[in-house]
Symmetry: C2
Subunit: 212 residues, 2 copies
């Protein structure tokens, strides 16, 4: 993952309990789409993801610098609450500073709640995991929640994804934005991303708190 001249660069800051596929689905797509991924951790070392699979991340949060995109993955509520409640604001303040240096500011799944807690979605329309939409509505009134459950939502330079696997579609969109449609098609082709789930189901109607 060393710097390669000319490749668009995406920074993914992870943390304990991060959702595995929020990181690895997009990282795989970015790789095949010709983007450089820099994976860094709030505290470097072994990062145990929510599903128990462990990532080894040797780099810590860097001094904020120019990136084509900042990509914030989500997690379950315990991990989010720890970050949002951290009195040192290590991760949130990093997001704020790094967002200033990033052409695109992206999240997938409940990563949107981290961007929102950092104030980075104020005045923007965003989406998140279907189950987290009530939280986004209730606790971040300056954020507009997009209709329905899109795979991703674009608003100016904010790109926010729905839950977990939405990151695959959203990553293709970011590749398309940064490197063009043919690069996104190449990532789709190499990863054989012509999905066809063998089961069907519906997203539950989540209880949306009144905005009145």
């Amino acid at each position: 993952m060393g710097a390669e001249e000319g490749k668009p660069r995406v920074l993914i800051p992870v943390y304990q309990g991060v959702d595995l596929l929020d990181v690895c689905g997009p990282a795989e797509m970015f790789f095949w789409g010709g983007l450089q991924v820099d994976l860094v951790a709030e505290v470097p070392g072994t990062i145990v993801t929510g599903s128990g699979v462990a990532l080894q991340v040797s780099a810590g949060l860097p001094v904020p610098s120019t990136y084509d995109a900042l990509w914030v993955p989500g997690a379950g509520s315990a991990s989010l609450e720890r970050i949002i409640g951290d009195p040192d604001r290590t991760y949130l303040d990093f997001l704020i500073a790094q967002a200033q240096m990033s052409t695109w500011v992206c999240s997938v799944c409940t990563g949107a709640l981290l961007l929102a807690a950092a104030g980075l979605l104020d005045g923007y329309t965003a989406t998140t995991h279907w189950s987290a939409i009530p939280d986004l509505l209730a606790n971040y009134p300056k954020v507009t929640v997009g209709d329905g459950h899109p795979r991703f939502q674009e608003d100016r330079n904010r790109l926010t994804g729905g839950g977990i696997s939405s990151g695959l579609d959203e990553a293709l969109r970011l590749i398309e934005i940064l490197s063009g449609t043919s690069a996104a098609q190449e990532a789709q082709r190499v990863s054989q991303y012509y999905p066809d789930p063998p089961v069907a189901s519906l997203i539950p109607n989540v209880i949306v708190p009144s905005l009145g």
Copy 2:
């Protein structure tokens, strides 16, 4: 990832250069579908995947024991050639012994070439990454390659997937087989796996060697 009573158990043996999403897409789905994943490595430690993201895997290849499924991920040709050409046959002999103790024997992507090299697809119909179909046809004449590019192919207790992202669909199918449709639907729902790629492309016509 400790043993939990009553959960179906899936063993995923990884190796240097393994494809990231072949492991992490299914692992995520299995987690939400209530399956226990045991991730083990040909040589335990830091496993650098093909895309550069590193996994930390503390367990080595175990003494073969009863599993509901053995799940073999794929990789690029250099990693496959090393395993297939290994004079000690460490990984291939493990697959042969573990397959005997596994109710289901599965691969995703070019993991099918590893199963084939171990002789575990002889007499079965299988699929693999679209680009690896000529290799499977040319070098493993006892394997029947399924028509087209299905997300996965089932033949008795063999379940083989297409390229990389096919593992998500295939994992849902394995959850359905082992735990029922509602468990697979739950994994789909929690992972919000209602895919909708923002670009479209075609799988190239690969050159298929004559079988005459």
